[in-house]
Structures are given as C-alpha cells and as structure tokens.
C-alpha cells in the first residue's frame, strides 16, 4: 500500500488510530456500502444486528409488560401474539443466527488466520445484502399486518391466519441465503487460508467452532428454505402439503422445520463456545485445558445436532420408537457440551485470573449455560418432557441457553475484541457494573419461569390463572433490570468511541494472531507477517506498563524487538 508510507506509523503501543487503519484508509458512504474488506463488512453486520437486538428487546419488554397482570394490561390478545412472534423471529433470524459468525466472526476469522481477507470477499458482501434484503421483507411483514404464528410458523395455523405470513417467510428464506453464504465462505477460508505453520490443531478454538457452525449453516439451512417456500406456496396457491384440509400433513412441517431449527440452535451456541474458549484462557493467563477434546467436541456437536430434531415433538403423536431414538441422541449431544464446561473450568486452575469485563461475561456464561444445559436433561428425558413441553420451563431453558449462553458470550466477545475493532479501551468499572446488572436481571427474569413451568403454566398465554401472577411480576421486573444493564453496557461502549483511551495492539495479552497487528488493523490486516505459535501460549506475553499493554517475551518476534 502506497499510502502506508505517507500516513504516520502506528504508535509504539500498536495503536493505529492516528495512523493508517481500515476505518480511515477510505472515506465516504460508498466506500462502506461497496467495501469488500471483511472488517468493514463485519462492522456493518455488527451495527445491523445490534439494531435488530434493540428492536427484538423492545418487543420483549412489551410482552413482559403485558404479562404483569393476568388479563389485559396494555394490549389485546392479537397484538400480544404478534409481539411474541416478532420478538422470536427478530431475535432468532435477524440477531442470534448471524450474531457471532457474521459480525464478530467476519471481523476476527481472517485476522486469526493471519490472512488478508476471507476466501471470497464478494460473496461476503453478497451475504450482507441478503441479510438486508431479508430484514426489509421482515419489516414489510410487520407493516402489512405482522405475523401472529409464533416464530415456528406451525401449520395449519400459519396457513390459515390472515396475517402477513408470506412476506415474513420469504424474508426468512432470503436470510437463510445470507447464512449459507457466510458458512460456505468460512469453510473455504479455514481450509485454504491458514498460514504456514498452522495445522488444524494449531487453530484457535474459535476457528474450530466457526468451522462446526459453518457445516451446519451450509447443510441445514437449505431445508428450512425449501420448507418455508412450500409453506408460502400452500398459502398462496393452495397446494396441499401441510394442511390436512388440502390433503397435507401438519406434522410433516414440524419435522422439516426442526430438521433445520434444531441444528440452528447449535449455529447459535457453537461460536459462543468458541469465544469462551478464547476468553477463559486469556483472562486466566493459562493455556486452555484439553484443547483437542474441545476441538473434537465442536465437531461432534455439529454432527449429532442433525439427529435430534424429533425431541421437539415427543408429544406430537410421533411413534414411541421415534421418541426413544430421539431422546437417546439428545442425551448424546449433551456430553460434548459437558466436556467443554469441565475444560473451561479446569483452565482457571492455578491461573492468575483477571476480572475484566470479558471475563465477567465469561463467568456469567459458565453459570447460566450450566443451568441451561442441565435443565435440558429434564426435557430430553421422555417422561418429564411430557409434562414440561410447551410450558414456561421450556421458555426458561432456551433463554438460559440462547441468551445466557449465546448473547452473554457475544457480549464477552464484543468487549474482548472491541479494542481491536475500534482502537479504544472502554471504562472497565462501568463495563463490569453493566455485566453485573445483566447477570442479576437475567436470573430474575428467567429463573422463576422454571418454577412456573414446572407448575404447569403454558407458554404463549395472553391471559393466565391468577396463581401465576407473582412469578410473572418478578419476571417482568427482572426484564427491566436487564434493560437497564444493556443500556449501561451500550453507553460504556459508545462513550469509549469518543473518550476511550487508545488501545494497544494487545491489551489483554492473548496469543492468537489478531493481537499481533495494530488496533485497529490496517486494511491489509498485517504490516508484518504474524508469527504463528501456540494460540494458547498466553504466558509468553507480559504486561508492559510503558504502553499499558502486553508484549511478547519469547520467540523470533521478541528477538527482533530486542
């Protein structure tokens, strides 16, 4: 790059805010909209999905507020049904599925591989615009008379309701392409763009988890696409596939839908597990414990996740034999997750634990994902699932996994890579306060839902029996605490953009390659070819007070610096 010579060199700490970086090397709206730089595409994804998260969160608060009283509080039944549907659809399809892979993964993956970009930069941009297209269709649906089917679109309800199911379903169809393209891109990138010296077992575990995720995205998403297309066809032209009135089979829809949507929960949780593998090692100042078991378990989860979809249908009338098989496979998928939890805990042993915001979120993750995973045992077991199915117990379980797991890990990752992405440090104290509020608010909101569910409170209820009111009130209060926590977290990060200290290249002392370039990185990612080593040998990085960051103490780069 010629302008690298004319712009000032990065500071000694490795901060490049004053020098050339991907944020300032090109300017203007067009340079963003048509960019092929994975970092800029990642940032655009980040802004987009955070906007979706805000929207989905507002729907959630409206739902929780309505549930303050056993009868009407602020809206009628139909509006309530639309609100919980939109909450689910926006959070799942617009936020969590693309959340970690497309926003954080896009930014970090090539950097972790010491690469210039992903394998197919144009496909990467196309994936982003598929997301935008899908989001626009979903918005159109909200304006036309939003869907009231629940995010699962179960037939024949979805084919007979008068709300705008078709545009929402087409939106999800297009969003699916965004997901497939990202997955395809990542698979090729990981196969072809690893640097000299980085074998499969030299890759960071976040890369392993993105690889597992990408396999699911590529293989499962087409099934959802076809299913939703069939649904739209049935609704628009009356072809009988799912509606028994037309000769179809409503349970077939459930099989098709969960064939995607169960693996999809691993699209959500696998990359989250990858983030935790990075942060727990860095902030314990220890090598990750049991690298190979964690890597293999990501792939095991990706494979087994395809074979457990029927556990959503234990009471649907499927045969007992199917129930037994799906229950068994469901328990098998629990094992790799358990291995990871044990390994993360063991990583902290004899470490030097640093309670920075990413680590607070990591510890929250272990706590919440622990509860989420263990309550899965009640639901995987056939006899207890019969009672708990479609109650608040399930709502609590998947929020503990998806929110307590994925969203909390996403926040850990966001706080972890924020200095790298934007070149600024945020206020540690306030970031920790926000993390604490999120933890307290989350548990207040969702723990009581386990109790309600076990007592028999069904989900998706607008009116409920008065005996459940105390639990609902506690849950709603928790959701408000959660909202305050998020606003503080957002405020802390936004504040850092203007007032934050310039971040050094390696503020946390991590050993993965993205920390060897400047913060923020230049467009071409690395000015000097990064030195490939053990991605978890964090102990060779020592704190240097003169730059308020970490420097390498062993290896060729350290020798060159001396």
């Amino acid at each position: 790059m010629t302008d690298a010579i004319t712009t000032p060199a990065p500071a000694a700490s490795g901060n490049a805010l004053a020098g050339a970086n991907y944020l300032n090397q090109e300017r203007g709206l067009r340079s963003w909209l048509f960019t092929l730089d994975h970092k800029r595409i990642g940032m655009m994804y980040l802004v987009s999905i955070l906007t979706s998260f805000l929207l989905g969160g507002i729907f959630a608060l409206l739902v929780r507020t309505e549930l303050l009283t056993p009868t009407k509080t602020i809206m009628d039944a139909k509006t309530y049904n639309q609100m919980f549907t939109l909450h689910g659809a926006v959070m799942i399809f617009l936020f969590i599925i693309p959340g970690i892979p497309a926003a954080l993964g896009n930014f970090v993956l090539p950097l972790m591989l010491g690469a210039r970009d992903v394998a197919f930069p144009r496909l990467n941009l196309a994936s982003y615009y598929c997301w935008v297209g899908g989001a626009v269709l979903a918005l159109v649906s909200m304006i036309l008379g939003s869907v009231d089917t629940g995010w699962t679109f179960y037939t024949p309800y979805s084919t007979t309701t008068d709300t705008a199911v078709i545009s929402m379903v087409l939106g999800v169809f297009v969003l699916g392409f965004s997901s497939i393209l990202t997955g395809l891109n990542f698979i090729v990138t990981i196969h072809k763009l690893r640097p000299e010296g980085m074998g499969w077992f030299g890759m960071p575990l976040f890369v392993w988890s993105l690889y597992g995720t990408a396999i699911i995205q590529v293989l499962a998403t087409p099934v959802l696409g076809i299913t939703l297309l069939l649904l739209a066809l049935e609704k628009a032209v009356g072809i009988g596939i799912f509606d028994p009135a037309l000769g179809g089979d409503p349970v077939l829809f459930q099989h098709f839908f969960w064939f995607y949507s169960h693996p999809a929960v691993y699209i959500m949780i696998l990359p989250a597990m990858g983030i935790i593998s990075e942060t727990v090692s860095t902030f314990s100042r220890k090598h990750i414990f049991g690298y190979r078991f964690i890597a293999y378990s990501s792939i095991a989860i990706a494979v087994i996740s395809f074979l457990v979809w029927g556990h959503h249908m234990f009471v649907s009338g499927q045969s007992n034999l199917l129930g037994v098989i799906f229950s068994f496979l469901t328990f098998m998928v629990a094992i790799p997750s358990a291995i990871k939890v044990f390994n993360w805990t063991a990583t902290m042993y004899k470490g030097s634990i640093w309670l920075a915001a990413p680590m607070i979120y990591t510890l929250s993750f272990l706590f919440l994902f622990g509860i989420g995973g263990l309550t899965g045992l009640f639901l995987g077991s056939l006899a207890t699932d019969v009672h708990l199915h479609d109650t608040y117990f399930v709502v609590a379980h998947f929020h503990y996994v998806m929110f307590g797991g994925t969203v909390i890990a996403f926040l850990a990752g966001l706080h972890y890579w924020w200095p790298k992405m934007l070149g600024r440090m945020y206020n540690q104290r306030w970031a920790n306060i926000a993390a604490g509020l999120v933890f307290v608010g989350f548990n207040t909101t969702f723990f009581v839902q386990f109790v309600m569910g076990a007592k028999g409170m069904p989900r998706r209820y607008y009116n409920y029996l008065p005996e459940f009111m105390p639990y609902h009130v506690a849950s709603t209060i928790g959701s408000y605490i959660l909202a305050v926590g998020f606003f503080i977290a957002a405020g802390v990060l936004l504040h850092s953009l203007f007032r934050g200290k310039p971040a050094p290249a390696n503020p946390w002392g991590s050993a993965t390659l993205e920390w060897q370039t400047t913060s923020p990185p230049p467009t071409e990612n690395f000015a000097v070819t990064p030195e490939v080593g053990d991605p978890y040998d964090v102990e060779r990085f020592q704190y240097d007070a003169s730059i308020d960051g970490y420097v390498v103490t062993r290896g060729p780069l350290a020798a060159a610096a001396r």
């Binding site: 049904n81 024949p156 409503p250 220890k286 049991g290 649907s316 094992i335 030097s352 634990i353 028999g456």
Partner: protein, 307 residues
Amino acid sequence: MPPAATATAGDVDTLFHFILGISAAFFLLIVGLMVLFVFRYHRGRAARPAPSSSHNTALELTWTIIPLILVVVIFGWGVRVFLDINTVPADAYEVQVTGQKWKWFFTYPNGHVDENLHVPVHRPVRLVMTSEDVIHSFFVPAFRIKRDVLPGRYTKLWFEATRSGEFQVFCAEYCGAGHSDMLAQVIVHEPGGFEKWLEQEANVLAKLPPAEAGARLYKMRGCAQCHSVDGKAGIGPTFLGLVGEPVPLQTGGPVSADENYIRESILEPQAKLVAGFQPVMPTYKGRLKDQEITAIISYLKTLQKAH
C-alpha cells in the same frame, strides 16, 4: 409441581426429582470450583500463573464417561415411565375429545357432549382426540400428561385419576387469539357419582324448554367463543337482535336472517359470509342434531335488542 393426581404422575415426579438432584450436584460442583478458582487464583493473590498441565487424558475421559453413564440412566428411566404413560390398559373407559378454536368438547359413549371432562375415580380413562381446525394440545398439569390434538387424525392419551376433585386443563399448543382461554376442567367423581351425573346430563335437554336448552348449547358447544350476545362483534358477528334482521353479505346484498339462514350458517358456515368477517367457522354438520339446531334458533329469537 402441582400435587400429583394420577397413578403415573408419581413416577414422573420421582424421575423429575432424580434429575433435579443430579443437576444440582453438577451445578454446585462447577460453580463451586469456579468461585473457588476466582477467589484463590485472582490476580490480586496470584500475580503469575503457576505451572500445571494443559491436558490430562485420564481426567478428561473421567469427566466424559461419568456424565455419559448418568445420562444413559436418565434416558432409560425416562423411556420406562414414558411407555407406561403411553400404554393404555385394555379396560379403559373411552371419551372422545374434540379441540376447536377455542374450546374443548368431550363426547361420552351415550352421545352427550360436555365442555368439561367428567370421569370416575380409580378407573383408567382413554381419550381419543382430534381437532376441527388447527393443532391444539391437551394438557393436565396435575396428571403430568400432554398430547397434541391434530386435525385429520386421532391421537390418544390415557390416565387413571387417584383422587376426586377438579383439575385444570390447558391448551398447550399455540392456536391463535383465544389460545389462553381454551381451558376446561377435569372433574373426577367419587365412586358412583359419575354414572349418576351422566344419566342426568343425557336427558337434560329433553326436559328443558327449547330456548333454555339452546342457551345451554350456545355455551357448551363453542358458539360463545366467537359470537357475543351483547352486541359486540367478536371473531364472528353478534347474536343480539340477529333473527329477522337483514344481514349484509360479502358477496353483496343483504339477506334476511330467518330460521333457514341460521340453519344453513351452522351447517355450511362459508355459504353466506357476513361482510367484514373471516371464513374461519368450522361446520357443525354431523355434530349438532336437528332438534339441537332448533333449540339454538329458539334461543337466538329471545335475544332482542332493547327498544
């Protein structure tokens, strides 16, 4: 968990508490270690990490195999109880269950249809269930049973109540605006009480004047879910002041709501749709007898607007 009221509910609860015990133990182990490590190895106390191995195959295999054994136990136990829940005893008393937005109907062997499920205590009861429209799910928390109710096929469920009383029925599969109002009660009668009740109910319509019988049918057979009698439009038009008045149709032109129009609208709801309403009403052909329709019409005639 609500107090158990069937023969199998206790088995489900035992398993539930077994899983709860295992979960609590693992949770306390993980969180306990986590808290201990954070406290013991906080960088305020441990400025530098101490050397320790970064993997240990024996240890890792241990924490793979022990959970594996435990989940296989939970799996096997769950299957055993599940099969008990799903294996219907041969001598069970059969009741037909129909789900329809947003009401349950229970049809007894003598033809009586009720809005609540009445059963004798200590006798296995078999439910044969189907839906008139979308998917519903029959859920009785006190019995720990649940099964989806599908259009176009039959699903089955059984239970044996071990004590008398009233137990809540919920619809557990989302089915639209009135989903959370699709409630009913299971009324478990003392020995001998059920037969007496059924005998009495079977003859009640014949003993009542038609308009009163119609009012009862209006409430019991699902008309009330969509048609009000106070003038407010719901999912369907109100019944207040309907008989004899002109009704605007979607196809244009009003029609007079006489006896024949009402009869036709009950048997073929989509034939003459009232303007401004969706074609969502299921047919009652084969579900209401002629004299029941006559009784409903007599009742509608009593619903005149106050002048």
